[in-house]
Symmetry: D2
Subunit: 337 residues, 4 copies
C-alpha cells in the first residue's frame, strides 16, 4: 500500500506512520517528495490487514492499495478461463449458452409451453422464478415450492436444465434439490450469509451484479463463493442503476469485457432486466455476444401482458425464435457457436 502524508507532516508524524506500518506487518519504505512524504508499505495486501485505519491519523491524507485482493477469481493466478459443467452443458466454452423462460413460474401450462418453445428455438437452460424478490410486499411473491415442482416437470418434458433464484438461506437446500444452477439476484449480491449457504450447496451459482455494485465488489462476492470451496460461479451483468430513466437500468457491457479479462470466470448477460423493455432485448443480445459474453439469460412468456410480474420486458416465444435466428451471424462473427 501507499500511504500519502499531508504536506506539513512533521518528522515525528512520519515516524509514527512508519512505526504503525511495521506493527501491522508490513515493511515501511518512506519516500521524501517535493511537497509531501509518501510511505510505501511492502507486504502481501491479500493476507495482512488493510492499512486504511491509518487515515485515523490526522496527518495521513490518502491510503492507496496497490494489489488486487480477490486472489481466487483473479485471472492473474489462473490464466485459463474456467468452464463450468452443468449436466451435459458447458458454460464458458465455445458455445454461447442460452437461458430463457418466464420471469415467474405461473402454471404448468405456462412453464411447459414456454420450455418447449425456447428449447425448439435453441435454448439449453430454462429460467423461471419460483421465489420472487418484489419491491412491494403486496406484489406476487412466486409459487414457491409448487413453482420448483413445475420447473422440474418442465425439465422432465424437455431436457432443459433449470436456473432459478434462491432468496433465503433457509431455502437453499430446497431450491438445490430442484435446480441445476442457483441464481443469486442483484438485491442479494452482498447478502453474504446467502452467498455462503449457496456456495456450500455445491451447486453452480449464477451471481448477478448488484444494482450499484462496483466491479471489484462483484468479484469479491464471487470470491466469497470460491473461498468456500465452490469454484462454479457464473457472473451475470444485468444493468446498473444510473440517472437515466428511459431504460430501467443501464446495461454495462464494459463490465462484461472487464470481468472476462480480470477474472477467469464465465460471464453472461441479462438484457431483459437491464432495460425492462422487450423491444430492445434482441439488439442488446447482439452487443453482448460481440463483447464476448458466454451466455444470455432472457425472459420469455407465452402472453406477456397477462404475466404476473414484469410483463413489459418479456418476449413472446415467436419474438424469441426470430431473435435466435438473428443472433446467429453475430455468434459466428465472435468465433463462437
Amino acid at each position: 500500500m501507499i500511504i500519502v502524508l499531508k504536506p506539513k507532516a512533521s518528522r515525528t508524524q512520519v515516524e509514527a506512520v512508519i512505526r504503525e506500518v511495521r506493527n501491522l506487518g508490513y515493511k515501511p519504505h518512506p519516500i521524501i517528495g517535493v511537497e509531501r512524504t509518501v510511505v510505501a508499505a511492502i507486504g502481501d495486501e491479500r493476507t495482512h490487514q488493510t492499512l486504511e485505519t491509518l487515515l485515523a491519523m490526522p496527518w495521513v491524507d490518502q491510503v492507496m492499495p496497490v494489489q488486487r485482493r480477490y486472489k481466487l477469481v483473479s485471472r492473474e493466478g489462473h490464466p485459463k478461463t474456467s468452464v463450468i459443467r452443468v449436466g451435459k452443458r458447458e458454460i464458458g466454452g465455445k458455445r454461447v449458452q442460452i437461458m430463457a423462460g418466464p420471469c415467474s413460474v405461473e402454471s404448468e401450462r405456462q412453464i411447459v409451453d414456454t420450455a418447449r418453445a425456447v428449447k425448439k428455438a435453441g435454448a439449453a437452460f430454462l429460467r423461471g422464478g419460483a421465489f420472487k424478490p418484489r419491491t412491494s410486499p403486496y406484489d406476487f411473491q412466486g409459487l414457491k415450492e409448487d413453482g420448483l415442482k413445475l420447473l422440474s416437470l418442465a425439465r422432465q418434458e424437455t431436457g432443459l436444465l433449470i436456473v432459478t433464484e434462491v432468496l433465503s438461506e433457509a431455502d437453499v437446500d430446497l431450491v438445490a434439490r430442484y435446480a441445476d444452477i442457483l441464481q443469486i439476484g442483484a438485491r442479494n449480491s452482498q447478502n453474504f450469509a446467502l452467498l455462503i449457504a449457496a456456495a456450500e450447496s455445491g451447486k453452480p451459482i449464477l451471481l448477478k451484479r448488484g444494482m450499484s455494485m462496483r466491479m471489484e465488489e462483484w468479484f469479491f462476492s464471487a470470491e466469497y463463493i470460491l473461498s468456500r470451496g465452490n469454484p462454479n460461479v457464473i457472473l451475470c451483468e444485468r444493468g446498473i442503476r444510473t440517472f437515466e430513466t428511459m431504460t430501467r437500468n443501464t446495461l454495462d457491457l464494459s463490465a462484461v469485457a472487464l470481468a472476462k479479462t480480470e477474472t477467469h470466470l464465465p460471464v453472461i448477460v441479462d438484457p431483459s432486466q437491464a432495460v425492462g423493455r422487450a423491444d430492445m432485448v434482441s439488439t442488446l443480445c447482439k452487443a453482448a455476444i460481440a463483447t464476448g459474453a458466454d451466455g444470455l439469460i432472457i425472459e420469455v412468456h407465452p402472453d406477456p401482458k397477462q404475466a404476473m410480474s414484469d410483463g413489459a420486458q418479456q418476449m413472446t416465444p415467436r419474438q424469441f425464435e426470430i431473435m435466435m435466428r438473428e443472433l446467429k451471424p453475430f455468434i459466428h462473427a465472435a468465433g463462437r457457436c
Copy 2:
C-alpha cells in the same frame, strides 16, 4: 393508473387496452387527446394488480401509477409521527437520541470503555457490530456471539441500550436475545427474507437505506416489516452511492426531510458511514439535526488507527464529547432536547 398509447394507435388497439384494464379489475376511462389517447384506470392500485404488464402491447407507450402503494408506512393514513419505545427511551419523540460506539466489537475493554465514554457524553444507545458485512471474505467478520456477549456486558455496566446488526435469518433469534434494536444494514435492505425474519422477532428494527435505493423502495422495505405486524421501524439514512469520490457515499439529507413527511416513522442519520471520514461527522450531525432527524448513530472507538474495521471514520471519545457539546445549540434551534 394512466395508460398512454402511442400516437397512431388504432381504434381496435384502444379497445384491446380498455378490455385488458377491465379484466385486471379496474374501471377504464378513455380520453381522446390531440395526438394520443390516454386510458385512465380507476381502482385501488394498492389492492389490484399493477397494470405495467400492458406495456407488453406494442401500442402502449407509458403506464403511470397515480397512487402511493405503501399504505402502512405512509403518513397519508397515519398523520401522527410514530414514537418507538425501547426500554425507557423514545425514538421519534422530542429528544434527539444519540447512538454511539465502535464499528466492530473487538474486546471487553474496548467496548466497555467506549460505552462509558459515550454514555458520559450523552448517548443513550450503544452501537457495535458483532456480525460484520465485509466486501472481502478476507476481512475481519466480527466476534459473532462473543461480540453479542460483550455488548450485553457493556449494557449491564452502563445501562445503555444495544443496537447491533443482524446479517443472517439464521441468527435473528440469537441477536434478538442480546440486542434492544436489530439493525438491517444497507446491503440487506432488500433481503426480504431477512426483513421478514427480523420483523417476526418483535424487536424494533433500524432499517438502513440501501446504497442505491430510491426512497420509494426504502419505504416498501419498511412496509414489509409493518405488514408482518411489527410497527417499530426506525429509518436510517446513511449515504447513497454516487459518482463523487472525495466522500465514501453522498449523505442525502433531503431524504430525511422527505421520509419525515411521506411516512410517520422516525428517521435517524448515520454520518460516519455516509462520508467515511471522522473529521466531517460533527458538521453533518448539525445538518442532520437541522433537517429534523430524530437521532444520530455515530462511530466512536478508543483508538481508531488500531480498529479492526473502518478506522478512518471512527471518532475518538474525546472528539465525540466535543461534538456533543457543539450539537446542543442546534438541538435547541430545532426545538428538540
Copy 3:
C-alpha cells in the same frame, strides 16, 4: 398532460386546477378516482406552456407529460433515418463510417503520419483536437489555429475529412473554415449559446451526449440545432458518469439503440472516451456495431505514452489496423459495409 391531485383535495381545489388548466390553453378533463382526482389536460404539449407550474398549488401531487416534445428530431414525424452527407461520404447510410486520429493535434509529423495510417486501415474521417477542453487550466489546451492548419494539411495529404471540436462561440467561424464536421463535446452539450452558433455555421454537427445527460435532454440539444435550420446532426454516445471506477465512464449502448428508434438521426459511438483504456476499445467497437451504430470515433496516436493528453486511451496505428480487420465480420453480421 395529466395532473394528479392529492388524496384529500377539496372540490374548490379541483376547480382551481381546472380553471388554471383552461387559462394555460388546454382543455381540462377531470376524472374522479377511488382515492384521488386526476385532471387530463388536452392540447398540444409541444406548443403550449408546460403545466408543471401547477405543482405550486399545494394540493397538486404530480404533473405528468404525455407527449414527447422534441418534434424535429423525433422519428414519429420523420420515419426515415436521416443520411448526413459530408463531402463524398454518408453518415447514416449502409456504410459504418470510421473516424480516427489523435486526442490532440501535436505536430505536423504526428498528425500526417496518423492520418496516413488510419486511412490505410480504412478510416474516412480524421479526428484531432485543436482546442482541448481540459479539467485543469494547467494542462495542455491545444495548438488552436495552428492545430486547425495541421488538420487541413493532413486532409490535403490524405483526402480524409476533418472532425474537430469547437469550444467557444467566438471560434465557430474559424473552426468552420477548416473542419468538415464541428464537434460539440460532452461538457458543452447544454451550452445552448454554442449549440446555436454551431448550428448557424451550416456545418454538420457531431453532438456528444453529456456526462450525465438523460437521453431526452440529448435529443432536446439536437432539437436546438434542428430548430435553427441545420438538419445535419450526428449523435455520439461517449459514456456516462456512474459510480463505477474501473472504467472512466460507463458506455451506454442501450442509448444507441434507443436514439436510433426515438430519433431519425445517425448515431455513432466513442469507445475511447467511454472507457479511457485502449485495451478495451476493440471489444466495445464490436458491440457498438452490433447495436446498430452508424459509425465509430476512435483515438489513435503514433506513440501514446508521449501523448500530450489522454495517452492511456489512444491506440497505436498497429492496434488500430488489427482492430479494423477484426471488426469486419461484425460489420457484415450487422448487414452493413
Copy 4:
C-alpha cells in the same frame, strides 16, 4: 505520482518506466514489492506534465496522483477564508448572505414587488434570470437585455445587489454592465471559454457545481477563474444528479463542508434547484446553515403557479418571510449573523 506496474513486469519494462518518468521531468524512485514493482515519481505535479500517459505501456497497471493540483483555490497555500466584497456586502464573512428572487425576470411589477418583499424579509441580493438555459428550445428563454434593465430598476428601488446568470461569452460585457455578481450555471460549469470571459470581466463570479461534477472538477473550474486574475469566486452547491426521482437533484451538503475545508472560497447553497420543490426549501436552508454555508440563494415568486419557468420550486413572498424567521435560531447556533 505513484506508478504501479503489473505483477509480471520484467526488468526491462521497469527500466522503460524509469526512463520515461525521468524524461517527463520527474525523479524516479523504484520500490520492489512482494508481488509488484512501484515507481514513485518525485517532482511537482502541479507544474510538470501528468504521468497518466504511462498507462499506454501495457505493463503499467495504475498511475496515482499524490498532490492536489488546484493551487490557487486550495486552502493549503491560503489558510484564511476569502471574503468577497460586493458593494457594501461581504460574502464569506460573519453574516450569512441571503440572495432571493424569481427564477426568471418576467415583468417590472413582478421583479420590483419581489425585490421589495425579499428585502423586507432580510435578503441583501436579488436573483433573477434574464438569460435562461432551458432544456427545450421551445421553453421561455428569458427577457434578455430587457430583463437586465428590470433588474437594474429593482436595484434602484431597493438597494439590493443583483446576481444574474450569463449564458454566452458574447453577453458577458452586457450582463456585467447590469449585474453585481455574474452567475455561471450548472450546465456551463465546464464551459471554459465562458469561465475565462467571465473571469476577465473582473466581476465576482458565483460558480455553480455541475450536475455530475466531482468536487475536484469544481475546484478546477474555480482555478480557471483565479488563474485569470479574478480572485472573487463564490462556490454554489445546487444538487447533483443521482438515481433518486422523488427530488429533482440530490443536495450534497458534504460538498459544502468539504469545499470549506479544501478551498478558501466562500460557499453558498441553492436548495430551490436542488430539490425542485418549494415545500422542502426551508428545511434544507437550515441544514445548509448548520453545515457552514456562507449564504443561500432562494427562488421567490409573487405567484409561483403563473411563473414562466420552474413554478414548483419557487416560494411565495409570505413563505419566504416565514422561513427567514425560522432560520434565525440556526444562524445563531452556527455563530453567524
